[in-house]
Every structure is written in C-alpha cells, then in structure tokens.
C-alpha cells in the first residue's frame, strides 16, 4: 500500500494517536455484548450501530480477533475428548417428563339451595347441642341438690301458692 519508509512513519503516527486517544478518552463507548459483535461479524448491523461497534473495536484489538474468528467459525475442526463431552453433557440432568405443574382443580359454584341447607344444618346442630347441654346441666343440678329440694322445687314450679287462689276458691264455693 505504501513505501516501507512511509509505512514506518504511518505506523508511528497511528501509535502516537492511539496512545493519546487512550489517555484522553478513557472508555467512552460501552462494550457491545456478544450478540451485537456476532451481528457485526455477519454484517447485519445498520451503519450507525456498526459505527459504535467499530469505535469500540478500534480500542479493543483483542476483541477484533473474536470478530474475525467468528466470521470464519468452523464446526469441523478438532473434536474434544469423550471425557470432555461427557462432562459437558452432565451439566444438564434428566428431568422427569411426567411431572406437571400443580394446578388447583376448578370447582363449580355451589347452588343456592346447597348453601341454605348447609346453614340450616349448622343452626340445627347448634340447637341440638344447646338443648342436650341444658338437659345435662339440669340433671346434674338436681342430683347434687337432693330429693327434698327437688320436691320443693317441683312444688314451687308447678303448684300454685296457697294464698293466691285460696280466697278465690272460698268465694266460688260460697
């Protein structure tokens, strides 16, 4: 492209510029990810996107090697040992294909009569329990207080006091 002397001078200019650029600019352009570099290697980027990548590549010649290698990638090269392949395949274990994510079964809405019946059943249960409890409590009380008191109590409850109706009886009889 140029004479040897010119080439040496151009190389020196480039080195001079690159040193100054690195010192002055720092890291102005963010590093592109692997997918962006791959797209660049395959010439799939727009001009603007390619410019950003090129600006970064100019400061990172080691990554430029990656792009060049990627553009000529070849799967037919050397093959790894069987042990290396086995180690790599073991990184992902077999998953049980019968396992399915747990899902709650969809329940149909209960009809209104079932809800009402359930509530009535609960109320009836409470009533029965209350009556049985009351009867048991009464039995226990009477058995503890003795038969005399029971008789007196029964008399008090069911027999009317003699004073209230005595006059009435006399009047009616007379």
């Amino acid at each position: 492209m140029t004479e040897p002397m010119d080439r040496a001078e151009e190389h020196a200019l480039w080195r001079h510029w690159r040193t100054a650029m690195v010192n002055a600019a720092g890291e102005a352009v963010p590093a592109p990810d692997a997918l962006l570099l791959a797209a660049y290697a395959e010439h799939r980027l727009s001009e603007t996107a390619a410019e950003d990548v090129e600006s970064w590549l100019a400061r990172h010649p080691e990554a430029l090697g990656d792009v060049l290698a990627a553009a000529e990638s070849d799967a037919g090269g050397e093959q790894p040992s069987a042990a290396a392949l086995a180690k790599a395949t073991d990184l992902v274990s077999e998953r049980d294909p019968t396992v399915v994510p747990f899902r709650r079964s969809a329940r149909s809405a209960s009809p209104a009569w079932r809800v009402a019946a359930a509530r009535v059943a609960v109320a009836a249960s409470l009533l029965v329990v209350s009556l049985v409890g009351f009867a048991l409590g009464t039995d226990a009380y009477t058995s503890l207080s003795g038969s005399d008191q029971q008789a007196a109590l029964s008399q008090d409850l069911f027999d009317p006091p003699s004073g209230i109706f005595s006059g009435l009886g006399e009047e009616s009889s007379s």
Partner: protein, 180 residues
Amino acid sequence: MIRGERVADKDLAALVAGNKTAWDGFVRRYAGLILSAVRTLVREGTEAEDILQEVFVRLCKDDFRLLKTYDPVRAGLSTWLTIVARSTARDVQRRHRPPQSALDDVPERLLAVSDVHVEPLRFPKDLLSPRQQLVLTMLYERDMDVAEIARTLDVDPQTVRSTHHKAMLKLRAYFAPGRQ
C-alpha cells in the same frame, strides 16, 4: 458461520427449557466449534478443554441465562458461540494470570506517589471516524492486509485504501510540527 446453519426455534426452546436430549445434541454439535475457537488463545495441554467446560457452564448456569440472550434473528449461533467462547477464554486467562511481581520486590522509590499535577490532554476524539480507527487498528495492530480487511468489513479493497489514506492525512495534519 457454518454453511446452512439454522437453529430451529423449537430446538432452541427445548434447549433453554432444560431438555436433556436437546442439551446433549447441542453439546455434541458445537463442542468442536468452541474448541477450535479457543485453541488459538490457550496454551498446549488440557487448558482448551477446561475452557470448553467453562463455556458450557456459562451457557447453562442460572437457568440458561446466557443462552436465553441469543436471538437467531440477529446472528448465527456458531458466530455468537465463537465470540462467547473466546471472551470466556480471555476471562479465564485473566483470572489465572500470575502476578507480574511481588510488591516486596518492587523498589520503594517506584511506589512513591508523585505530587506533580498533570493537565489532562486535550484531544479531539472524533478526529478519526470509527471506520477509520478500525481500519488502522486492523492494519497496524493486527497486521492484516487490505484484502483481509476488505473481506472482514464487506467492502471493496479500494475503499479500505481510501479510508486509510484519509485517516493518515488527518493524523499528519494533526501531529504536524508546530501544530500542537
């Protein structure tokens, strides 16, 4: 890029879903490519196969996080894998690089902090366009010839020569004696 390579969406979906059969097929198909990609960066011996393992670990770890970033619409899988593999190789080498010299071996005067204030260099960052920078990097950093550069950039060789020529004119003008 491998000729005729096209990864079916369903294969990729099965792969990132953790399907063992898909993973085994993927490993067998691309292990050679990854090994070839890292071979030029590593020393002799088993180091290349260690890096091969590291690449596959990166691809599948965290529920295939890295592999899920791949988009077949944007680039071929082999191209993307080559870049991932070489980037991984450099990271591994950086991690394992021995320290250059022990701190105790460095003379104390070299560790002394100078109190001299240095003005930051004013430099026109956009003196050269990104394309011009890249062409010069390829020419002078990687010793590539014009035909190689043209092929890499998918342009005509004459365009490369022209880009180089214009870049040099700018640099000569900028670094001319008496200019700074």
